[in-house]
């Protein structure tokens, strides 16, 4: 299967045709084309290609155009520039919710979407197909004795007790740059007052700020970081399987679960293919091979029931609150005050 896609055309667009910035534009042509499906996505090629190819195996007549952009650019493309795509796939739950709330999403309902748990869909417009826990990454060098803090309180105590050991060795998202980091920080703040205390301690210990999970994991492996807070577990698990050198800790007081969502755009030209793809993603749990290949954990209601500390970020108008410009300004000011200690 993988070799069959040698024929796919990978081209970096000169970004003149589109005003928003794209990272990659991939086309998976069908051998005998009967339909087309255009996807605007924030998921990178490594993660998503197995899914696209499996979909194409089920629907051999569909040519897929897969455009990758950052979450903010994807939002800009749809909301401001009216870019024509059939589907939008994004990990930015807040932006996806805003697009649906502002009327850009088409309503769709099928047996597959009805089978999703209530918290995994909104308005029958936004459908979650992965549940990815947000974790603490602990380098194997951080706690040679083996006692790894599993709650935010325990982490705060460890940082207080051994400030010199961790000074400059902690990494987290720069929420001013990363929309995803901002979402996680706001959800932390909403869930517990402890997260502000943790943020202040981290600020005092000269925490280093990153744009993306990948960079944090790189520095963990290189030994520059001992702790990385709020890293997407799915990325970490993929890297750990390759190289190791760190542990993935799901916090026991609470762990946010990020939901990757898909929506059909209102102006979608290829409704049939879009519906097929939404159904395919909603049934991702039935394809363990794809879950393994993509590293994207499928929706699993039972796992969340077993562990009450796992909290899926709730889809719905609550997510719009932190997109409010005054709210964002206030939050960022407080965040900066805590993390930069100025």
């Amino acid at each position: 299967m993988r070799h069959a896609c040698l024929s796919l055309v990978l081209s970096l667009w000169a970004a003149v045709a589109l005003a928003f910035e794209i990272e990659a534009d991939l086309t998976y042509p069908a051998e005998v084309e009967t339909g087309v499906l255009t996807i605007l996505s924030t998921a990178d090629r490594e993660a998503f290609e197995p899914i696209l190819l499996a979909f194409q195996a089920d629907n051999p007549g569909v040519t897929i155009r897969y455009t990758i952009a950052s979450t903010a650019e994807a939002m800009k493309a749809v909301a401001d520039e009216g870019a024509r795509f059939d589907l939008v796939i994004s990990s930015a739950m807040d932006l996806q919710t805003k697009l649906a709330n502002d009327g850009f999403a088409a309503t769709y309902r099928s047996a597959a979407t009805d089978a999703l748990p209530d918290w995994a869909r909104w308005r029958n417009q936004l459908f979650a197909f992965t549940q990815e826990p947000v974790v603490l990454i602990v380098s194997d060098d951080a706690f040679p004795d083996g006692e790894v803090p599993a709650t935010r309180n325990a982490l705060i105590e460890v940082l207080r007790d051994q400030p010199e050991r961790f000074r400059g060795k902690i990494g987290t998202y720069d929420v001013r740059e990363s929309g995803f980091g901002y979402l996680l920080a706001t959800q932390d703040a909403r869930a517990s007052e402890n997260s502000w205390r943790l943020l202040e301690i981290m600020g005092r210990l000269d925490t280093r700020l990153y744009c993306c999970s990948g960079d944090m994991l790189r520095d963990i492996r290189s030994g520059d970081l001992l702790l990385a807070y709020n890293v997407l577990g799915s990325y970490a698990a993929a890297q750990q399987a390759e190289a190791g050198g760190f542990r993935i800790v799901e916090m026991e007081d609470f762990s946010n679960i990020m939901l990757r969502t898909v929506m059909i755009l209102n102006g979608a030209e290829n409704r049939e293919e879009s519906a097929a793809m939404v159904d395919f993603l909603a049934r991702l749990g039935g394809r363990p091979d794809l879950v393994r290949a993509s590293g994207l954990p499928a929706i699993d209601d039972a796992a969340l029931r077993d562990n009450v500390a796992l909290r899926p970020i709730r889809l719905g108008p609550g997510l719009l609150v932190f997109l409010d410009r005054l709210k964002r300004r206030t939050f960022l000011r407080n965040w900066e005050a805590s993390i930069t200690q100025e």
Partner: protein, 461 residues
């Protein structure tokens, strides 16, 4: 029974249709009221949550460094997402300038005041939305600023609720209609049941029963029953009058006839010429017939009268048969007809009216003698088995195949009686007496050769 009265419309149908129409009207009313009440309750719920959301936003407003700022509470919007999945929009306007939220959310036509929130419904971004607007005054650097907070939500959840309510209200309305219609069918039936009972009791009555109705009837039927009873009383009086007239006439005729007959007998004896004596004999016979007829008319009137209030004495039929035969034997002897009484050894008794029963028997035997040729026997046989049978057999000409039931009618006579005078009342009287006693009159041919057999049949008492 419907003879003479053509049905025009039906009270039951009219009653049922009217009640069903009322039920239909009430069902529709029930549907509308249920839907309106439930819809307004659902709308009030949405309005309440919208107002709570807007108020929580208003409470988060504060003044900072001479300008107004807002820390939008998470709950302000998330609470709107808890009951349904409707889209949410908000806008905060300070002194006419948008502070935050959706810039294009239209301001309310009816501006809110500090003491009054306003609600409005309109189209926004492709959907109908419900919007609440709340006014606040916030002091900034000594100068008050007017702030208007609007929170709007689409109404798909409300529409879903209202569809569900409509379905329930429809089901309730249909259910109510079906039950009410069934009940109105029953009510129409039950309202008319006294009328049916009345009809049945009129139908059940015998032809001679002219007693007034005394059964209990609903108030609405009392005038009708009173009118019916008054009609019956008049009919009864009229019948009574004609019976009285007949009796009176018969009585007045019989006495002079007896005188005339006595005189004719005397004259007959005095006459010598055979042709004159023959004429006189015929005259006497005619007088006898007239006298008999007058007697029968009297009997008939008496039967009619006495049947109404039948006495219940114990009658020894054996004695009565013997007595009657003895009394009629002399007259039969004149025609050379013998009368033979056959009674069982044990006495046969029944409850009834001696006078009527004797009158009946006498009329039958009288008839038998009248139609019997010379040198024959009239047999009166009494027997008691399952019923009491009193059979009178003659050797006369019989009824010549005439309709025997018709012979029981008043003044009806057989077809072969032209040469014999008669009133035609004899069998009528016998029939009426038999029926007054719960029995019947059987008319048949004599099984032993020619002649007739007329039998009075009574139940065993």
């Amino acid at each position: 029974m419907s003879a003479g009265a053509a049905a025009k419309g039906s009270i039951r149908r009219r009653l049922f249709l009217q009640l069903a129409a009322i039920a239909a009207l009430l069902s529709v009313l029930l549907f509308l009221v249920m839907r309106a009440v439930a819809a307004s309750a659902a709308e009030d719920t949405q309005d309440g949550i919208l107002a709570a959301s807007a108020t929580s936003i208003a409470d988060a407003l504060r003044s900072e460094e001479g300008s107004i700022t807002l820390d939008l509470p998470y709950s302000a919007l998330s609470m709107l997402g808890t009951i349904n999945e409707d889209r949410v929009f908000y806008r905060v306007v300070v002194n006419g300038e948008t502070l935050t939220g959706y810039d294009d959310l239209p301001p309310p036509e009816d501006a809110p005041t500090l003491s009054r929130n306003t609600f409005s419904t309109f189209e926004y971004r492709g959907d109908e939305v419900r919007m609440v607007s709340v006014a606040r005054v916030v002091s900034t650097g000594g100068a008050p600023s007017n702030v208007q907070i609007s929170v709007a939500q689409t109404r798909l959840g409300l529409q879903a609720i209202s569809q569900r309510i409509s379905a329930i209200a429809t089901a309730a309305g249909i259910g109510f209609f079906v039950v009410a219609t069934a009940l109105s069918l029953w009510a129409a039936q039950s309202a008319l049941s006294p009328l049916e009972r009345m009809t049945a009791s009129v139908t059940r009555r015998g032809p001679g029963d002219l007693r007034p109705f005394e059964t209990e009837t609903p108030a609405e039927l009392v005038p009708f029953v009173a009118a019916l009873n008054s009609f019956i009383a008049r009919l009864r009086a009229s019948l009574q009058r004609s019976e009285d007239l007949i009796a009176e006439a018969a009585h007045r005729v019989r006495t002079p006839l007896a005188t005339v007959r006595a005189k004719a007998e005397v004259t007959h004896r005095k006459l010598n010429k055979p042709e004159h004596r023959q004429t006189m004999r015929e005259m006497i016979r005619a007088i006898d017939e007239s006298s008999r007829s007058a007697g029968q008319l009297l009997d008939h009137a008496m039967v009619t009268f006495r049947s109404d209030s039948l006495s219940e004495e114990v009658v020894d039929l054996s004695e009565m048969v013997q007595d009657t035969c003895d009394r009629l034997s002399p007259a039969a002897g004149l025609k050379d007809v013998s009368v033979l009484a056959r009674v069982p050894d044990l006495p046969v008794t029944m409850k009834g009216d001696w006078v009527l029963l004797q009158s009946a028997l006498q009329n039958i035997v009288d008839n038998a003698i009248k139609y019997s040729p010379e040198d024959t026997t009239v047999e009166v046989a009494l027997s008691a088995g399952e019923t009491i049978r009193l059979a009178v057999t003659d050797a006369g000409r019989g009824f010549g195949g005439a309709d025997v039931e018709a012979l029981k009618g008043r003044f009806a006579r057989g077809r072969n009686v032209d040469d014999i005078v008669g009133s035609g009342l004899g069998l009528t009287i016998a029939d009426e007496v038999a029926r007054a006693h719960g029995g019947r009159l059987e008319i048949a041919a004599n099984r032993n050769g020619g002649g007739a057999c007329v039998t009075l049949v009574f139940p065993l008492s």
